[in-house]
């Protein structure tokens, strides 16, 4: 299934313009607050009506201004996970889960209900009222409720934004699993770089209402104009496999033949992870450094240089592990004689790979 969006919607203060096609898997809608992300998914859900354009799921038009098509919300087959869970307070968790299930065109079977309840670990909560749930529990139930409505497309509007760090970490794996099942398009709104790094198959960036087409996550993470914090927020995302957990509390990863060490992660040996490496955590050397405390030293070749107005520069590097970036000063870049095609060593401090940036 493919979700195509091509719409214009005037809002107070800005005009939303979006044109992209989201395939199965997670397409992250990424941008600062007020850039139109929520309006965009509300238009897909039918909660907001665009001024012109077309929204279609496969061949089926959900909205087509030219042909006068505007399917009502309840007939669009969308599952929506809101930032604020929105569980019905007067119904039990079980009744909440069954609310959309009963109304689905092809109601999920009892076995499917059991599977999702088990997957989300909410079996013990079924008899409770939403008021008695923690934020993380409520959001898991909300996700289950959306999935049990038998959706053809899943929309998630900053589903983790209201949760603390530990609850975020608890919920992210469920979205990763949905992404990997890959049986429907998922639009996932966030302004968090680490969620983007962990979840995105594709990214649509939004700036003051204007949406880009589909972009690669690594491209977005490397662009100082897109990530929060500008050059300070730039980073790379590399894919790695867990090789072993060492006795001294480190986990060894294999990224394209290169060994990477990081503080122990909870994933099993053989698991494939995404690791985000912030450009500010990478330093460069022309000779292979010796007598250095850093464990991760990657052989690299400079493939791009970007200098801003300030004293810093972003150096793009090709390594055995993939593309990474380093943020160094322009002065160092000059002193090292860095330029396109120059060989260098990238040093990544072990401890700087944050847990929240590691995902399956």
């Amino acid at each position: 299934m493919r979700l195509s969006v091509d719409i214009v919607k005037a809002m107070s203060g800005l005009e939303l313009r979006a044109q992209f096609e989201a395939p199965d898997g997670i397409t992250v809608l990424f941008g600062p607050s007020g850039s139109g992300k929520t309006t965009l998914i509300n238009a897909v859900a039918g909660l907001v009506t665009p001024d012109t354009g077309r929204i279609a799921l496969g061949e089926q038009a959900l909205f087509d201004q030219a042909r006068g098509v505007n399917q009502p919300v309840h007939k669009r087959g969308v599952g929506y996970v809101f930032q604020d869970a929105r569980l019905f307070p007067h119904l039990s968790v079980e009744a909440n889960l069954n609310y959309g299930r009963k109304l689905a065109a092809n109601p999920p079977s009892e076995a499917e209900f059991e599977r999702i309840v088990k997957l989300l670990g909410i079996g013990g909560l079924l008899a409770r009222r939403p008021a008695k749930l923690s934020g993380g529990e409520a959001q898991r139930v909300a996700l289950g409720r959306a999935l049990l409505s038998g959706p053809q497309v899943l929309l998630a509007d900053e589903p983790l934004a209201a949760l603390d760090g530990a609850r975020k970490a608890e919920l992210l794996p469920y979205f990763e699993r949905l992404r990997d099942e890959g049986n429907m398009p998922i639009l996932y709104v966030t302004h968090s770089v680490s969620e983007l790094g962990r979840l995105a198959n594709h990214v649509v960036t939004l700036e003051t209402g204007v949406a880009s087409g589909l972009r690669a996550p690594s491209e977005v993470l490397a662009d100082p104009h897109l990530v929060p914090g500008g050059v300070r927020g730039v980073g790379a995302m590399i894919s790695a496999v867990v090789v072993t957990h060492h006795a001294d509390g480190l986990t060894e990863l294999n990224a394209g033949g290169v060994s990477l060490f990081l503080p122990k992660v909870a994933h099993d040996i053989g698991a494939r992870l995404r690791v985000r490496i912030a450009a500010s955590d990478v330093i460069l050397a022309r000779q292979k450094p010796e007598g250095l405390s850093a464990l991760n030293i990657l052989q690299a070749k400079v493939t791009g240089m970007r200098e801003g107005d300030g004293p810093g520069a972003i150096v793009a590097l090709e390594t055995g592990a993939g593309q990474i970036q380093a943020r160094i000063t322009r002065r160092s870049a000059k002193a090292l004689g860095l330029g396109l095609g120059v060989d260098a060593y990238a040093i990544v401090k072990t401890v700087s790979i944050a847990q929240e940036d590691v995902g399956g």
Binding site: A45, G46, L47, P72, V73, H74, K75, R76, G77, V78, G79, Y80, F82, D84, R86, F88, P89, H90, Y99, G100, L103, A104, R129, P130, A131, K132, R145, A146, S149, L155
Partner: protein
């Protein structure tokens, strides 16, 4: 009840019957009107609001007179109703209608406030789960507004119990048929020595009204707790 004479007892029983049916008759349309006023954006919104609230500000005698004109035995509506076997004028059924119309504004106000207090985000969440507008109303909006519906119903009951002006104008003051509690108090006060009977009925009116208010408070609080899931 030996404390009450047969005539007094008759008035109390009739009032309870009239108030019960008036409440049963006015709550469903009150819910519909309250929902339309709270959520609807349509032509004539202001007009509907005005018409519903008219009995609250109009002299009750005027409301009763209008009912008599249109639904009395001389009125067009009255003749139609008589033909289908439901005459209203000078019948207890007419007292029910008069009380229902007089209670409607109070009931609508209470229900409208509680519907407006229902967070519309729950309604849009229900829509994304596949519920039509009608289903959203019955499974989300109405259950969440239930404490207000109940409060409105009890308020309407108390109002119907005490309705006087419109009732006496429309259906007169016939003992056993249309002589409700307030009409009976009025009648007793017109005859010498009727004060003690009137006094007893006044006490009953106070007890019923007070009881209704306490009951509504208690039910609303209980319901609100249940709705909030605490």
């Amino acid at each position: 009840m030996s404390w009450l004479g047969p005539e007094e007892w008759q008035a109390v029983a009739l009032s309870l019957k009239v108030a019960f049916w008036a409440t049963a008759l006015s709550v469903p349309p009150a819910i519909g009107v309250a929902y339309a006023l709270a959520r609807g954006r349509f032509w004539g919104h202001g007009l509907l609001n005005g018409v519903v609230h008219l009995p609250l500000v109009l002299p009750p005698v005027v409301t009763g007179y209008l009912l008599l004109m249109f639904l009395g035995s001389q009125g067009l509506g009255g003749q139609v109703l008589e033909a289908v076997g439901l005459p209203l004028a000078f019948r207890w059924t007419g007292a029910v209608l008069a009380a229902a119309i007089m209670a409607l504004p109070l009931t609508v106000r209470a229900i409208r406030l509680s519907i407006e207090a229902v967070d519309m985000r729950f309604e849009s969440a229900a829509a994304t789960l596949g519920a039509s507008r009608l289903r959203v109303f019955f499974t989300v909006t109405l259950p969440m507004a239930m404490p207000g519906v109940l409060a409105g119903a009890v308020l309407g009951f108390a109002k119907a119990m005490g309705e006087f002006g419109a009732t006496i104008t429309f259906v007169s003051n016939i003992p056993g048929e249309t002589q409700t509690l307030p009409s009976a108090v009025y009648s007793f006060l017109q005859v010498p020595g009727g004060e003690s009977s009137a006094g007893k009925l006044v006490i009953i009116a106070i007890v019923v009204a007070m009881g209704a208010l306490l009951l509504s408070e208690w039910l609303a609080r209980r319901m609100a707790r249940r709705v909030a899931g605490a």
